[in-house]
């Protein structure tokens, strides 16, 4: 089966930023969470996938299409919500529905109505008068209403309150229950990604630090509380991050490198990423 997304050696440079030989795969039927600090390259990666910006080098395949070479019809198969919804400020949800019916070949007006009700999006309010959260909910309703095979969400749930976010997360998991449907989602809210994602990719300053199955991540890394002497017996490449205090060391390490007689505490993925980002900043 074709992977939903394949990225090979993808490079893109701006003044002050370089996306550096990115390699990443989203297998069909799974959810991949893209995390990283502001400016890490998440939005750049997503915009390259959508051919909104041109790559300097590398290869991209989205649902088997090279976005830079294919005609635009392949976008019927993807639902996209970017961090800011770019609809005319004076249109309402009903008019947006008519525009989308003209744009997408498999637009499902009933499903759109269903999601407007489910997300409590007012039909008669102008887009410019909607709150940021409502705008995002409208975007998610659009993305879910044209039988897409792949959802690409860039910080789409960040403006939502916890209740709606929970509902959206549920909808996203429902989406992938149907065969051959995949999601790429970037977010700062790692706890949400931890709930719904099968794979996690961590970008830091334009470089992919890791891309791994979520369960493997949790099982491979742990927190080792020990003395400096014990830490010195751990292979340096297995130590992700160390904090030292008067009682000893607290280190994020690969579990397979822990010295005999010691054990590591479980680590939350959010904690792991914060520590890895800090490690990345060290000289």
């Amino acid at each position: 089966m074709v992977n939903a997304i394949e990225i090979r050696d993808l490079c893109k440079s701006y003044p002050g930023f370089t996306l550096d030989h990115l390699n990443m795969t989203l297998p069909t039927g799974y959810i991949l969470g893209l995390v990283g600090e502001n400016g890490a390259g998440k939005s750049t990666t997503i915009r390259l996938l959508l051919d909104l910006i041109r790559r300097d080098s590398g290869e991209i395949s989205v649902l088997g299409n090279d976005p830079a070479e294919s005609d635009a019809s392949w976008k019927n198969d993807i639902g996209v919500v970017l961090d800011s919804m770019g609809l005319p400020l004076t249109v309402n949800a009903v008019q947006v529905g008519k525009m989308m019916a003209d744009a997408f070949s498999r637009w499902d007006a009933e499903k759109y109505d269903y999601y407007l009700d489910r997300f409590d999006v007012p039909r008669d309010r102008r887009f410019g008068e909607m709150s940021n959260g409502t705008k995002m909910k409208l975007g998610i309703a659009i993305a879910l209403s044209h039988d897409a095979k792949l959802l690409i969400l860039d910080e789409a749930t960040n403006g939502l309150d916890p209740l709606v976010r929970d509902d959206v997360n549920e909808v996203l998991m429902e989406f992938t229950r149907e065969e051959n449907r995949s999601i790429l989602i970037s977010s700062h809210i790692v706890s949400d990604l931890e709930k719904i994602c099968d794979y996690i990719a961590f970008l830091h300053k334009g470089k992919l630090m890791l891309c791994e199955e979520k369960d493997v991540l949790s099982s491979q890394y742990g927190i080792l509380s020990c003395s400096e002497d014990v830490l010195e017996t751990v292979a340096p490449e297995a130590v992700i991050h160390v904090t030292r205090n008067t009682y000893g060391c607290r280190a994020v390490v690969r579990r397979d490198s822990i010295p005999e007689g010691h054990s590591a505490d479980p680590i939350m993925i959010e904690e792991l990423f914060v520590l890895m980002a800090k490690e990345g900043e060290q000289p």
Binding site: L52, R54, G86, M99, D102, A103, F104, S105
Partner: protein
């Protein structure tokens, strides 16, 4: 492309109501008073510059990013905008034609100059032809400086051609068809440049 047309119609009928109002009032003013025949030129110029006004709204609303996620190509996005511009300019020219016809029917034939109609059509088409490619390449902000030069250039150009446009003896000047053809060729070349430049453009 139908979605793009629909979006533009929504945008014009909601955000740009003043334009519609001018389109309604100016021809009436021109029709009532033959001395105000130049009012028909305004609706043509409005038609010609409406595409840039729409792009300015779109940049503010981040529409290009959203449009880039839809199953429409960049070529279709540019094509729709040029077709819309052409339709609006033709509509403005037709309205101008009706105003001039009203002069003729009411016995003011000396004001019913075909030159005025050609001037209406050509200046309305030259403006977007020169402006749109730069807008698609550099964005509306940077293109504003180019607009200023264009307005001055077009004003001077119209001035120098006024002897052709203002001929009121009812005989068509032989250069008028050439001017129309030249404007259409310029519009076509402008479209090709816009497509090429927008396809290379990073949408941020």
């Amino acid at each position: 492309m139908k979605a793009l047309f629909r979006k533009d119609i929504y945008e014009i009928t909601t955000s740009l109501k003043s334009v519609i109002l001018i389109w309604l009032i100016f021809p009436i003013v021109a029709a009532i008073n033959p001395n105000a025949s130049y009012f028909v030129l305004y609706i043509g110029l409005l038609a010609g510059t409406l595409s840039s006004t729409l792009i300015s709204y779109e940049e503010r609303e981040k529409w290009p990013l959203f449009a880039g996620t839809l199953p429409v190509s960049r070529k279709q996005i540019v094509t729709e905008r040029y077709l819309l511009t052409l339709l609006l300019v033709l509509a403005a020219t037709a309205i101008g034609g009706l105003v001039l016809l009203s002069y003729h029917l009411r016995g003011y034939s000396e004001y019913a100059s075909i030159g005025l109609l050609v001037q209406n059509f050509s200046t309305s088409l030259v403006m977007p032809s020169l402006l749109l490619p730069f807008t698609y390449r550099y964005g509306i902000e940077k293109s504003r400086y180019i607009v200023m030069f264009l307005v001055i250039g077009i004003a001077l150009g119209s001035q120098s051609l006024s002897s052709i446009f203002e001929r009121k003896d009812g005989i068509m000047d032989p250069t008028l068809p050439l001017i129309v053809i030249g404007c259409l060729v310029l519009f076509g070349l402008s479209y090709l440049f816009s497509v090429k430049w927008y396809q290379q453009h990073d949408i941020a």
